[in-house]
Amino acid sequence: MQKQCILCGKISRMFRYILKRIFIFIPTLIIITLLGFLISINAPGDPVERMVSSAQSGGEVGTQSVSQMKDKLFWRKKLGLDLPVFYFSVTSYAYPDTLYKIGDKPEREALSRLISNHGNWNAIEQYHNSLIRFCDAQLFFRPDTNQLKGYETNKVIEDLNQIKFEALSLKASYEEVLMQAKIDKIQTILSKYSFLNDSKRLFDQVVSDHQNIKNTESKWKNYIPKIAFYKNNQYHRWLFGDGGEFSKGIIRGDFGTSYVTKQPISEVIYSKIGWSLFFTLLSVILAYFVSIPIGVKAAANRGSRFDKSSSIVLFMLYSMPSFWLATLLLMTFANPDVFHWLPASGVKPATGYPEGAGLFEKIKISFPYIILPAICYTYSSFAFLSRTMRVSMIEIVGQDYIRTAKAKGLPENKVIWKHAFRNSLLPIITVFANIFPAAIGGSVILESIFTIPGMGSEAIFAIQNNNYPMIIAILTITGFLTLVGYLISDILYALVDPRISYK
């Protein structure tokens, strides 16, 4: 009866301990997603621009913009960029709450810089609107043949294009000198042709509005902070989706669309995560299997030749950069000039598995591909584990109860394996928390060396192609896996060590 109650107490205390770990788990996960999100919105370049321009490129300034407008709107909606960034934003009193509605990234930045320089949103908005009116009018403007009489046609077209170009770039400029230069340029071209009088009137409005910005400056507004709250925002949508229209949110496993292939990212990751997890887990298991006997043997024969030499070798392995060892191994064992024993890249033959191959046959085919990566994945954690095992074993062997067991006349083997070994296992279990994340992180390097189709090589590929949603997805998933590793090691520790107090 009593025993059961102690057990109940222990279980409830342990349960509480695990709950407490989960309490740390959740904010950490939120911070990782926040960091990932922060990185993705600060990424250079405009994703909409990228999606549209990869679909079609070239063409005249005017026609390009018109035909792309719809595409852009669609992608903006699909990528969720028509929403404010976060639940709240800290801006100044001079800023309007709805600046996020301006789609074009450089345009938006130019406007917010204008606000931070001048502080009068009303005047800036007026200027922006009249500039848009001018641009729109100019984009659809086609002079007819009557008007062109007396002018050189090519020259006119060139000048008109020049106006379009300058007007569009005026939208994205904020430095006073540059703006003035562009305005002057447009004005000189406009005054050259009599048929552009309508446009000239529109542009005069722009010029007077621009002047107005400078006249009604109110910089003081920038010194007053303002917090604006948004219920519907990009981060919220990224996490929870928008009700299934375009995105289901990452909590339902939807990481968005790849910029490169336009595939859903979750599909790509789903097809890649298998090999990454396989190598990570294989390495952890192998490392434990190899390191425990070595550590125990070294500690049991402390000061022997085996102890000394294994210490040196393990220390050197521990300091050895994994990418160096990997390259050396490839250079030696997968090099036609030296030993061509093993294949140099991939996890299976380039032609794939033969049709109808069973699991064992697949393993047999993949085995030579796995040997070198497995060595590189394993050795550093193995060195670390053996050293930890040795130290903890030495500590245990020095204790009184071991001496008693020896004095009792128990055989050496029994003392080591039955009495000492069990108790020395504790520290080696806790370092699972160090090994698992290291293996995940290390996969970035090793996968790209051995061209293993996993998340690590996908991460490098994504970085080379500026595929930010993919980078963020991988960051979030590896963060999640790392956290799970910590949680498992915490729970294992709590399960194994009866002395732990769960406080």
Binding site: P27, I39, V90, P225, M320, T327, P437, G442, V444, I463
Partner: protein, 451 residues
């Protein structure tokens, strides 16, 4: 007389028997650690004089009667007037063809190549022991003279590997100093605060606490949000302007925080706001450490490095520094927990010293030892991280030659074993000596571990 001297010296050594001296003797007894210390000093010297021992600009050159010291000179060109014709010849140091110059005397650096300069005659993976050629000014092909030999071969473009290795030493050692400098600044400060104050020692009034929190918001607003465009422009221009802009922002931040701190002292005197509260410094900092160590740091560093507009090695160092302070903070915290309960700290408190003074003057010097060990290990892992990044070609500009980027070049051509073996060996040796140093320091500084 001799014996008397001996006695005195013994007396003296007994008199100033300090922990530092004891630790040094212990450290010296640890042969591997002591030798790694010597190797480290050697590497540091190489790093400092690298631009003078591996450069294609000669140390000294006498040409048409004019003495030049191109490797040492700050200006990049020299105008030479021909006394006979009066024609002016302009020699630009960095692009001049020194090896074919008909100078009266010319003394080359021991390695007569710069890491980035290509030697077209010996391009396409020339091996260290293989045939290397030199084409004279007259166009004759001959066996390379010893002073121009590529001792460790070349890469595909014909860049000298040894020169790259020597100049890469600079990058690696700077990585260690800068990133661990940042990390130890953050780590020691936070660790000391967490360990010294704990959860129950930093007491303040409700009023001043909330005033300070509001102050932090304002400080953050004026220092970073209002200046966000200045900071962004700084990042886009150069590393120096980043540092200047960041410095201004941090200055504003500190200034406003301090104003609100003093304001809070006044507010804390008002009626119900003068209620005492404890600030759980230890809990806050420990949670922050736990969160940071659960992050996949390598992938985080890679992602941050990938979005940086301008690729620069300094960015990488800063990122590594900002993410690797946890180990130092944890050890410093543990040490401060122990020290803050010691009698001499109690004595200092009872004498009415300011807390700031107790932390930095009395407690910190005794708590530095474990942090030092963590720093040594931290340098090793920072060097590994940087070389992994440049091996992958992420975040490091392609013009910067580092050990990692040299090794990366060897991946493309396995027959060029010298591109794999030597840079890898350099990384391995440096990481090993830092690890050995760390172990030696730990043994020397922690007398409890001695058996």
């Amino acid at each position: 007389m001799e014996e008397l001297k001996k006695d005195i010296s013994i007396e003296e050594s007994k008199a100033d028997f300090s922990f530092r001296k004891y630790a040094w003797t212990q450290f010296k007894k640890n042969k591997p650690a002591y030798y790694s210390y010597k190797v480290l000093v050697f590497l540091a010297i190489i790093a400092i004089i690298a631009p003078f021992i591996a450069t294609d600009q000669p140390l000294y050159c006498k040409y048409k009667g004019v003495n030049m010291f191109p490797a040492f000179s700050f200006s990049n060109n020299c105008e030479i007037k021909d006394p006979a014709t009066g024609a002016i010849e302009n020699i630009q140091y960095d692009i001049a063809d020194w090896k074919h110059m008909e100078a009266e005397t010319i003394i080359f650096a021991p390695i007569a190549y710069s890491p980035n300069k290509t030697d077209y005659d010996n391009a396409d993976y020339v091996s260290p022991g293989g045939k290397q050629i030199f084409i004279t000014a007259e166009g004759e092909e001959m066996e390379i003279p010893a002073k121009f030999r590529h001792w460790l071969g070349t890469n595909k473009a014909g860049e000298d590997v040894l020169s790259g290795l020597i100049n890469g030493t600079r990058v690696s050692l700077t990585i260690g100093i800068l990133s661990m400098g940042i990390a130890s600044l953050i780590g020691i400060l936070l660790g000391a605060m967490a360990g010294y104050f704990g959860d129950k020692k930093l007491q303040t009034t409700r009023g001043s606490f909330w005033t300070f929190i509001i102050g932090l918001f304002f400080a953050f607003y004026y220092a970073f949000i209002m200046r966000s465009f200045e900071l962004a422009d700084g990042f886009a221009t150069s590393s120096l302007s980043i540092l200047i802009q960041l410095f201004i922002s941090i200055f504003i931040f500190t200034l406003i925080s301090f104003v609100f701190y003093w304001l809070g002292k006044l507010v804390g005197k008002i009626g119900f706001l003068s209620h005492k509260v404890f600030i759980p410094v230890d809990s806050i900092i420990s949670r922050a450490i736990e969160i940071l160590i659960s992050m996949p740091l390598l992938i985080l560093i890679i992602s941050v490095a990938a979005i940086a507009k301008e690729k620069s090695i300094v960015n990488i160092m800063i990122i590594i520094g900002l993410t690797s302070w946890t180990g130092i903070a944890r050890l410093t915290r543990a040490e401060f927990l122990r020290i803050s309960n010691l009698e001499y700290i109690q004595a200092a408190k009872s004498m009415g010293f300011k807390e700031f003074r107790i932390i930095f003057k009395h407690a910190l010097p005794n708590a530095l030892a474990p942090a030092l060990v963590a720093i040594a290990f931290g340098v090793a892992s920072a060097i590994l991280t940087e070389s992994a990044l440049s091996f992958l070609g992420v975040g490091v500009p392609p013009t910067t030659v580092t050990w990692g980027s040299l090794l990366n070049a060897g991946r493309e051509q396995f027959s060029a074993w010298w591109l794999v073996v030597f840079p890898g060996l350099a990384i391995f040796v440096t990481v090993t000596i830092y690890n050995l140093l760390g172990e030696g320091l730990r043994d020397a500084l922690d007398p409890r571990l001695k058996k």
